[in-house]
């Protein structure tokens, strides 16, 4: 009994690979995106009862039907990309900063405090610059709190930064309640926000976010500090032996990460002249997936951010047409499908799947049967299909390289395999 058990070989055997052609990688990822689009179409159509074509139309309408939709989409891409860029240095360090939401909110709060108290007392341009500075510093400080404890005591940063989000949310709520007084909602600050340029309301944002993205990626890829981040991220011990001050690198990098988050917070307050608990646009968590899935490739990062916002807008388009049965949370499902496929496809890039001989035989058998039904010749019906596979099996046998872990004594196994075929 036990002997028999030991000889069963797993059907699939997975090995790590690092040799994949970059075009194949790209093809796999694009395939995942296409597959997710297909699944989303099927799910959405099944729920709404529309045809596939109509659903496609709604998805595009949701993003491009009006100038407002399109602008909204590109603004969202920028905010999502901005936060994802902010997280890149931290993740390269393998520091799981899931506190982007809190860092953006705290940056926005710092800028708002300036706008609220001295907004009408100093020149507008000076005010905006000061708001920018305090937001960046605020975001950096907020991120530094968990980083300091990570360095000093080794406190788990994932959970620490997660908790910091909620503290920031409550802080913002506190100030909003303090400022709004008897009003039902917080009125806009009495300031002149960031000017629109090129006739675009978020013109400055379109300039700043890509610029920051380029700076951060050059910093990560081309500078000594960026290299230090990579070393510390790969192996803390290697970094220590190489004489890198790991604590310093961690604190510096997390401060940068938080500072960029703070900048995004400033862009929110500066553009809209108000403060809200959703200043991160709900992208604090989504950005984590964007950063991770992009593997620090800036173009991939922009593409994934675009994909998420596109599907979100598309879901919005579908919801608009069916507001009697759908609500805004429908987009969560749509985006989650996209994210899961994006996460799952990495497996096929990093690992090679080797099917065991048994499975190969099984497929061959099916394949042979298919051939048979396709051909449907007299000769073949005279000769049963089992014989064909049996012959093939015998031919295959000499090539059979025994897998690791399986005892070299093969004969009983082969006998078993033959029995199964018969």
């Amino acid at each position: 009994m036990t002997k028999e058990k030991r000889q069963t070989e797993p059907f699939v055997h997975v090995t790590r690979r690092a040799d994949m052609n970059k075009w194949v990688k790209l093809a796999i990822r694009l395939g995942a995106v296409l597959l997710s689009f297909l699944i989303i179409l099927i799910v959405a159509s099944a729920i709404t009862g529309d045809g596939l074509g109509l659903t496609v139309k709604y998805i595009f309408d949701g993003n491009f039907a009006t100038g407002f939709n399109t602008e909204e989409m590109f603004k969202n891409v920028m905010f999502l990309l901005g936060i994802a860029v902010a997280l890149a240095p931290a993740f390269k360090l393998r520091f799981w900063n899931v506190g982007a939401q809190g860092q953006v909110l705290f940056g926005a709060l710092c800028a708002s405090i300036l706008a609220f108290y001295i907004g009408d007392k100093i020149p507008n341009a000076l005010l905006l610059i000061m708001m920018l500075i305090v937001a960046v510093v605020g975001g950096a400080l907020w991120a530094l709190i968990p980083a300091v404890f990570k360095v000093k005591t080794g406190a788990n940063e994932t959970l620490f930064t997660l908790m910091m989000n909620y503290i920031a949310i409550q802080l913002v709520a506190c100030f909003i309640d303090l400022w709004k007084g008897k009003n039902s909602a917080l009125p806009n600050f009495n300031i002149h926000g960031i000017d629109s340029i090129f006739g675009l309301k978020y013109g400055i944002t379109y300039l700043i976010v890509p610029l920051i993205a380029v700076i951060v990626f050059v910093y990560l890829a081309k500078t000594k500090q960026g290299y230090e981040i990579a070393v510390v991220g790969e192996s803390m011990n290697t970094a220590k032996y190489a004489g890198i001050n790991t604590s310093k690198v961690i604190l510096r990098t997390i401060a940068i990460s938080g500072a960029v988050c703070g900048l995004i917070g400033f862009l929110y307050v500066g553009n809209l002249c108000r403060l809200s608990n959703t200043a991160d646009g709900g992208y604090g968590f989504t950005a984590i997936i964007v950063t991770w899935a992009s593997q620090f490739n800036p173009i991939a990062m922009a593409a994934i951010a675009f994909g998420i916002v596109f599907f979100e807008g598309g879901a919005g388009g579908i919801v608009d047409k069916h507001s009697n049965i759908l609500n805004a949370y429908f987009s969560y499902i749509i985006v989650a499908i996209f994210l899961f496929l994006l996460i799952g496809c990495e497996f096929f890039i990093n690992y090679r799947i080797n099917f065991s001989e048994k499975v190969k035989e099984f497929f061959k058998k099916i394949f042979a049967k298919k051939k048979k039904t396709q051909a449907e010749t007299e000769e073949e019906t005279a000769r049963p299909a089992e014989d064909i596979t049996d012959d093939k099996l015998v031919e295959e046998l000499p090539d059979d390289s025994p897998d690791e872990g399986v005892p070299p004594a093969d004969p009983p196994q082969n006998g078993e395999a033959n029995k199964e075929v018969e």
Partner: protein, 338 residues
Amino acid sequence: MLESLTSWIVGAVIFGTVIMFGALGEILTEKAGHLNLGVPGLMFIGGFASWAVAFLYESGTDEPSKFLMILLPLLAGFGAAAVAGLLYAFFVTTLRANQNVTGLALTRLGVGIGSFGGMYVLVKSGKSFGKAVNTYDVFAENLHSMFDFPEGSVVEAISRMLLSYGFMVYLAIICAVLIHLFLSKTRPGLNLRSVGENPATADAAGVNVAKYKYLATVVGAGVSGLGGTFYILVFCNGGWSTNNNMEALGWLAVALVIFATWRPLNTIWGSYLFAMLFWAYAYLPGVIGLKVSTPVNDLLQMLPYVVTIVVLIITSTRRNRDNQAPASLGLSYFREDR
């Protein structure tokens, strides 16, 4: 004062039970080395499935049976969340995807399915009001209402604090004890802990790592899902609403795991304490007889998170080996990487 203190404790026990279920499931999952950040999503899915089943069952039958009204929502909540947990387990165990990322995606999926599904079921059933009234009555049945203590007496207060809850409150405590016994007294429990601490060693010792990871994650997800069941059917009086704070509750459950230092028994008092902190802003002013302004209220609502951070820092400084997270928490295991 006694009155508001009693209400505070009673409210905290009910609210705490939601977090306790979530945290117990997460402890099982983390013991296998999986940091599942999908707890909010699991609770949403569990809550939605239970509510949908309860609502459809009682509005579809003239005389709903009490037994089925208890069994169906529990099975649905546990089962639906377990299926979602299976998705997570497949991604992180078989596909070796990053745990944080997969968990966050699962949260998103769960919140989506729950919030969207609730409305969808309501619309499809043609009703504008989605309360599973009879199921709530069954879930809220308690011993306290059978006694007739004089209003305001100490005996009445004690009876309320101990006996005024539906069966799920006690079920949560039983779950905590059972999981504790499983982890500390049984062979499979020991194996599970070894998988979370050092999967390579467990593998070498003949433990089927993948099997344990799958089972712990799926069962853990189901237990977390029961938190959602309790939230909708008891805390929300059996009524569905999209505007609820279940997501924040899910994160509180993740926080409670740290607070309880990965020990199931600690979640019993930890969850009630968390809930008392969470509701401090609503009850504390009444207890100490002060009026508190809204901004201060907002600050008071930070308490559970601040306490979690303090606990996180204290456990990390003490470096007591008994109070640490499982050593391989958050890492994928791949046999050939050894």
